[in-house]
């Protein structure tokens, strides 16, 4: 049990003007593979921050460390002032997380999915129903609340998962590849809803994507990752200007990452992405 005094001390890191999320030389090795290599970023409260890179760039590894699912090999990180290793239990209370993989339970209704998580997040009984209804309404799912999730479309499932991750009003929301496997219309709908979240709740959002278009339209700033390293960080406009006139974010990406087709990704990554895509389709 942490004492009240300690709580005060660690809260101080998240005061006004300080980043809500900060990593310092965050590193994770798997055997000889360095999945995240001296990764350092700072994110301000209310930002929508994109982590961009091809499959295998280390985006998911970074997200797993920040959501306390994976311990860093070295380096530090703080989320809302809490150390991700020393105060992991506190970090879990202030974050929302939508994994890349499908995480809604198909054999329950949308409402039931939210109900179980509202209990796991200890939302007071008298507030549960209001929060769940509000979450469903914000995501445009009120009409299908009592339908089984295995009858939802891919876009609806993603929106349900986002509603679920927002039930406890997290300070930081992690979206890992939120639109992978979605058709363009569903993708646009998810984008609209992510923007809406920021407007309504001021949530700081860290999302990963390998779609440049997504980073360009949604994010205030993007960090381009390649082979575990941070290649460059800046606003989409800045980054495009730095490469040259008329540059697209794709050009920026190629410029900073030295990306070569066939150099990245592996069987496991590919099979995972395809599986997710198939389930969401």
């Amino acid at each position: 049990m942490m004492t009240t005094l300690q709580t005060k001390v660690i809260e101080e890191r998240s005061e006004e003007g300080k980043p809500i999320l900060e990593t310092q030389s965050l590193t994770r090795r798997f055997g000889t593979l360095v999945a995240a290599d001296n990764f350092s970023i700072q994110i301000s409260p209310g930002e929508v921050f994109g982590l961009v890179g091809p499959n295998g760039a280390g985006k998911t590894t970074v997200i797993k460390m920040l959501t306390t699912l994976l311990a860093p090999t070295s380096g530090n990180a703080w989320v809302a002032g809490y150390d991700i290793v020393k105060h992991a239990a506190y970090v879990r209370r202030v974050i929302g997380y939508v994994p890349q993989l499908l995480s809604a339970d198909g054999s329950l209704t949308g409402y039931e999915n939210l109900l179980i998580f509202s209990k796991l997040y200890h939302i007071p009984r008298q507030e549960r129903n209001t929060r769940i209804r509000e979450g469903l309404a914000v995501m445009g799912l009120s009409d299908v609340a009592n339908k089984m999730v295995h009858d939802y479309s891919g876009g609806m499932i993603r929106k349900l998962e986002i509603a679920e991750s927002m039930l406890h009003r997290p300070k930081v929301l992690f979206l890992d590849e939120p639109t992978v496997g979605l058709d363009p219309i569903a993708r646009n709908a998810v984008w609209d809803h992510v923007r809406k979240l920021r407007e309504e709740y001021g949530t700081t959002i860290l999302l990963t994507t390998h779609y440049m278009e997504e980073a360009d339209t949604l994010c205030d700033r993007v960090a381009i990752m390649h082979l575990g390293k941070l290649a460059v960080v800046g606003s989409p406009t800045e980054l495009k200007a730095s490469v040259g006139p008329d540059a697209t974010l794709d050009d920026v990406f190629v410029h900073y990452s030295g990306y070569e087709v066939d150099a990245v990704g592996n069987w496991r990554e590919v099979s995972r992405t395809r599986r997710t895509a198939r389930r969401l389709a």
């Binding site: 797993k64 209370r93 997380y97 993989l101 329950l108 998580f117 209990k119 796991l120």
Partner: protein
């Protein structure tokens, strides 16, 4: 995040309350799934029916197994209940591998719920399936004329032992799932374990007729204690070898140890 000073007892109380809420939320998820789709529970009725109606009836004819004053089919029925609970629980870990292959497990582990509560919630989820087996076996028992002890305390006792047995074997299964991490390997190991656990127990014959080495194995097999308690509680004239208190203590001890191990290993499955 600042909380008023509520004292040690108050804080302990709120921790226990929170832990219970988390555990029950995980168990509720399973209950709701079963409610939406009870098919599996029904198909699970086939195997115990075969054991009781064919194996049981045939063995009862030849009177080869010494079962004291009670008929063989009465002796065997609690054993088949224990077996059904074992079979349904020992493969429960595969559900966790499945949830890992989806992202449900990641989301659970990134929530503030303590790992121990997540594991215990899974154990109780398996118990819900175990209880469905108890219902099925009671019905079968009535159909084939087993002398069932309908004393409400005895029935309640049976249900409690079934809950404990399912929790124990499902947590064991969860530990295996955390270690092997893939469905294929898990299925192999599950198959490898079920029959030895079943045969090295008192489920369908008394320990006294086993060779010595098998008796030794049987005495450390949790299924033996589960069957022993069920036999004393479920049928009229049924007797316990070790005593019901000893049986339940053994099961509870096993659950505590296994849940502690599983909670440590659980994050590894991600």
């Amino acid at each position: 995040m600042l909380k008023p000073n509520i004292g040690v007892i108050g804080r302990l109380g709120s921790v226990i309350f929170g832990f219970t809420v988390d555990t029950l939320a995980v168990a509720e998820l399973e209950a709701r799934k079963l409610q939406h789709d009870p098919t599996e529970v029904l198909t699970r009725a086939v195997q115990p029916a075969l054991w009781l109606l064919i194996f049981g009836e045939v063995l009862a004819q030849i009177r080869a197994i010494p079962t004291g004053k009670i008929p063989y089919i009465d002796f065997m029925t609690p054993g088949i209940l224990a077996q059904s609970v074992l079979f349904i629980s020992i493969f429960y870990g595969i559900a966790v591998i499945w949830e890992r292959d989806l992202g449900i497990l990641h989301k659970m582990l990134a929530s503030p719920a303590p790992r121990t509560a997540l594991v215990l919630g899974k154990a109780l989820s398996a118990s819900e399936r175990g209880l469905s087996q108890a219902l099925i076996i009671y019905i079968l028992a009535v159909l084939i004329g087993v002398h069932v002890d309908w004393n409400p305390i005895s029935v309640l006792g049976v249900l409690i032992v079934v809950i404990l047995g399912s929790a124990l074997f499902s947590t064991f299964s969860l530990i295996i799932a955390c270690i092997v991490r893939t469905r294929e390997r898990f299925l192999g190991i599950g198959q490898l374990l079920t029959m030895p656990l079943f045969f090295a127990s008192n489920a369908i014959y008394p320990i006294s007729i086993m060779p010595h080495w098998l008796q030794a194995v049987s005495n450390v097999n949790p299924l033996t204690y589960q069957t022993d308690a069920l036999r004393a509680l479920m049928i009229t004239g049924g007797a316990s070898t070790f005593g019901i208190v000893a049986d339940i203590t053994a099961l509870l001890g096993g659950i505590v140890a296994l849940v502690a191990i599983a909670a440590k290993l659980y994050p590894r499955v991600v």
